[in-house]
């Protein structure tokens, strides 16, 4: 059987997809990678490209040259691309996920009438759920992605994902939400008040819950869910659509990781889980990879030699007329740089080993070199993307 053709470069991947989701554990550079890929796609491939970030990334706003990123997308000025030396063929837009605002919009959209919407928005529990409740973040991120995609305003949307306890949470969030709203338990809980008392008093859960939580709280919960229940039909449909979009062939996942043990392990778990659940893995991006010359055999020999006899080498240099200071000082410097090289080499070797053993189901694995300075502006983002592009 002929193997289905998949993208062989990041360039092809971004040209072929409508949605690219960057995922991976916290601190591996998802937000920066997403922004870099989106910027490059806008610059080289044209069209309208949106980078949707879930990070409160003031720095990203600065890097993109937009004052503040909010729930409403802002266009990155074309001048910023010109200044960075890469005039853009297309447009780059940036938006940030505002969890509370997105939930509010969703409620207004799905509530049967304005009054119900108001009552939900004013509910004490709602505020907690929309604002603090961790999992709601995961669902709303995907929901917002769906919304932006269905508006049809962009050719490509690159989104980074919220840091989750479990990398899979956000992929499963829409299904969990759909399940939740169509469950029997919710119906029991939100049954008309009188029958609820009769029904529930006999159930062990409620006798216990009553003692633990107090009946007022139970009443609050029931009222909240009753209100929320009015949105159920629209909500369930919507959650299912979100779920379908995440599995659509137009959506690809880019797993970002560093070569450190923990994130790498998580990346492998993630790649496996994507496959098992029918999501499309596009590429694996290895971030902050130490330069390959640290593994150079000749350099290792040189460093060993320097570490062993720095004074001898310093003398030899002086004899060649290549002294860089007094012999003792040069010897100290030589010893220090040799030591430093050997130190970095240990880490580079470990990384190379990890890289070699990386077991993922895609041929598209790209490395981003360790940048020794921070990514500060659009030019930096484009330079970063350049390294993985073709």
């Amino acid at each position: 059987m002929e193997r289905p053709r998949t993208a062989v470069s990041i360039e092809q991947l971004l040209a072929a997809k409508e949605i690219v989701v960057a995922c991976g554990s916290g601190g591996v550079g998802k937000t920066t990678t997403s922004a870099a890929l989106a910027a490059m796609a806008a610059a080289r491939q044209g069209g309208k490209v949106l980078v949707l970030t879930v990070d409160p990334a003031r720095r990203l706003a600065d890097a993109l040259g937009v004052r503040a990123i909010g729930n409403d997308a802002r266009r990155v000025p074309a001048a910023a691309f010109a200044e960075a030396g890469t005039p853009a063929r297309g447009e780059l837009w940036a938006a940030m996920l505002d969890t509370k605002k997105s939930w509010d919009d969703l409620v207004v959209q799905h509530a049967p009438d304005r009054r119900t919407a108001r009552r939900i928005l004013d509910n004490k529990l709602y505020e907690n759920i929309a604002g603090r409740f961790v999992q709601s973040h995961e669902y709303i991120a995907m929901e917002r992605l769906y919304q932006l995609h269905s508006e049809g305003s962009y050719d490509l949307i690159v989104v980074d994902t919220p840091p989750t306890r479990n990398a899979l949470d956000f992929l499963e969030a829409p299904e969990r939400m759909a399940e939740f709203f169509s469950s029997r338990f919710l119906r029991v809980l939100t049954a008309p008040a009188r029958s609820r008392v009769v029904n529930l008093a006999s159930r062990p859960f409620f006798t216990v819950a009553d003692r633990v939580l107090g009946s007022q709280f139970l009443h609050d919960i029931a009222e909240f869910f009753s209100l929320f229940q009015t949105m159920a039909p629209g909500f369930v449909d919507r959650a299912r659509s979100v779920s379908r979009l995440l599995r659509d062939h137009r959506t690809a996942y880019v797993v970002v990781t560093t070569l450190e043990a923990a994130p790498l392990h998580e990346a492998e778990v993630f790649v496996r889980a994507l496959g098992e659940r029918g999501f499309h893995l596009g590429a694996v991006v290895l971030n902050r990879v130490l330069p390959p010359w640290l593994l150079d055999d000749g350099a290792a020999t040189a460093a060993a030699q320097l570490a062993e006899d720095p004074a001898g080498v310093a003398k030899a240099l002086a004899a060649q007329g290549a002294a860089a200071g007094d012999d003792a000082q040069v010897a100290r410097v030589l010893g220090e740089i040799a030591e430093s090289f050997l130190n970095f080499q240990v880490v580079a070797q470990r990384e190379a080993e990890q890289r070699a053993e990386l077991a993922v189901s895609t041929d598209l694995v790209v490395s981003v070199p360790y940048f020794d300075t921070d990514v500060c502006d659009l030019g930096d983002l484009l330079r970063l993307a350049e390294r993985v592009w073709a």
Partner: protein, 315 residues
């Protein structure tokens, strides 16, 4: 403010990827080495704690992984079972099963339920006094305020019932700087420093938990002494690198490049370190842990970080 390890509950947080688990494990290891009966608890069930102790998987029931050092993984359902069994004297697991599923269901939507079960278990261990110290590999910086706010939120939402009484003593333990301290782990990099500064402010403004220390992980050593960097710059010219290669009989170019990488990294990071010091209250100590050029991230690394922390704490 007491000494860090004199407290009863130390909550460790940090941005993803800064070495939060390793630091939490090292603090626990250090305490146990100093004769304290210590419990290390992982809040996110990822198995990272087992990895840094190089033991088999940890579970809700704690297990001794080193002398006097016990490790456990938080499991909110198990915590609920334990809670119900203790508080309500309900018959054991078998009958609680379906009940726990129901609670799980409510917890999926109702605010703070999972959080309170987590914080509740930790505070319970402190109150029981079976351990001298409980060290928590906690939620990441983004979630930790929400987690700490759970007892307060529940306290506001639930007007009566056992839970309300429970949240009161939890709040008492969490708010007492002699008993509870937060440790934020950062690396001298831009985003971890930003998040640390922001979290320190939020802890002060939105919670009653005392920030005990900031651990700065992976601090690169200063490569050169006084005047040596100038000597290095003179040495790094192409002609001299050529001479150097000749003298050692191999290409010394990468050795010089590696030194330059180390110098640049150190310099970028020094700025972030300064921002960190300026952004956190001066009364909060910064504990520095050097970058470890190690083969692995296992128990060996945990031991070395523990040694570095011991030195910083003046042990």
């Amino acid at each position: 403010m007491g000494d860090l390890l004199d407290r009863r509950l130390v909550l460790v947080t940090g941005k993803g990827g800064v070495g939060k688990t390793t630091v939490a494990a090292s603090l626990a290891l250090l305490a146990s080495q100093r004769g304290m009966r210590t419990l290390a608890c992982e809040v996110d069930a990822k198995g990272d704690l087992a990895a840094v102790f190089e033991t088999g998987p940890t579970a809700f029931a704690e297990r001794e992984v080193q002398p006097r050092l016990f490790a456990m993984t938080m499991d909110t359902e198990a915590s609920l079972k334990e809670y119900l069994a203790l508080q309500l004297r309900l018959p054991v697991a078998a009958r609680i099963g379906p009940l726990a599923r129901m609670f799980d269901f409510v917890a999926t939507a109702a605010p703070g339920v999972r959080e309170i079960l987590t914080i509740g278990k930790l505070a319970y261990e402190v109150r029981q006094g079976r351990y001298d110290l409980v060290v928590v590999d906690g939620a990441a910086t983004g979630h930790v305020v929400g987690q700490l706010a759970a007892p307060q939120a529940i306290n506001e939402l639930v007007q009566v019932g056992i839970i309300r009484e429970q949240t009161r003593w939890m709040l008492d333990i969490l708010s007492d700087p002699d008993q509870t301290g937060m440790v934020i782990v950062a690396t001298p990099e831009e985003m971890p420093v930003n998040e640390t500064v922001e979290l320190a402010a939020r802890l002060r403004d939105e919670t009653t938990v005392d920030l005990a220390a900031v651990v700065v992980n992976r601090v690169l050593p200063e490569l050169f002494g006084r005047g040596e960097e100038e000597a290095f710059e003179r040495l790094a010219t192409p002609a001299r690198v050529g001479a150097l290669s000749e003298a050692v009989g191999a290409d010394a170019g990468p050795v010089v490049d590696a030194a330059r990488l180390a110098v640049t990294l150190r310099r970028t990071r020094a700025d972030h370190l300064q921002r960190l010091r300026a952004g956190v209250d001066p009364s909060v100590p910064l504990l520095y842990v050097p970058y470890l050029f190690l083969r692995s991230h296992g128990l060996r690394a945990t031991h070395q970080v523990a040694e570095a922390l011991a030195a910083e704490l003046g042990y």
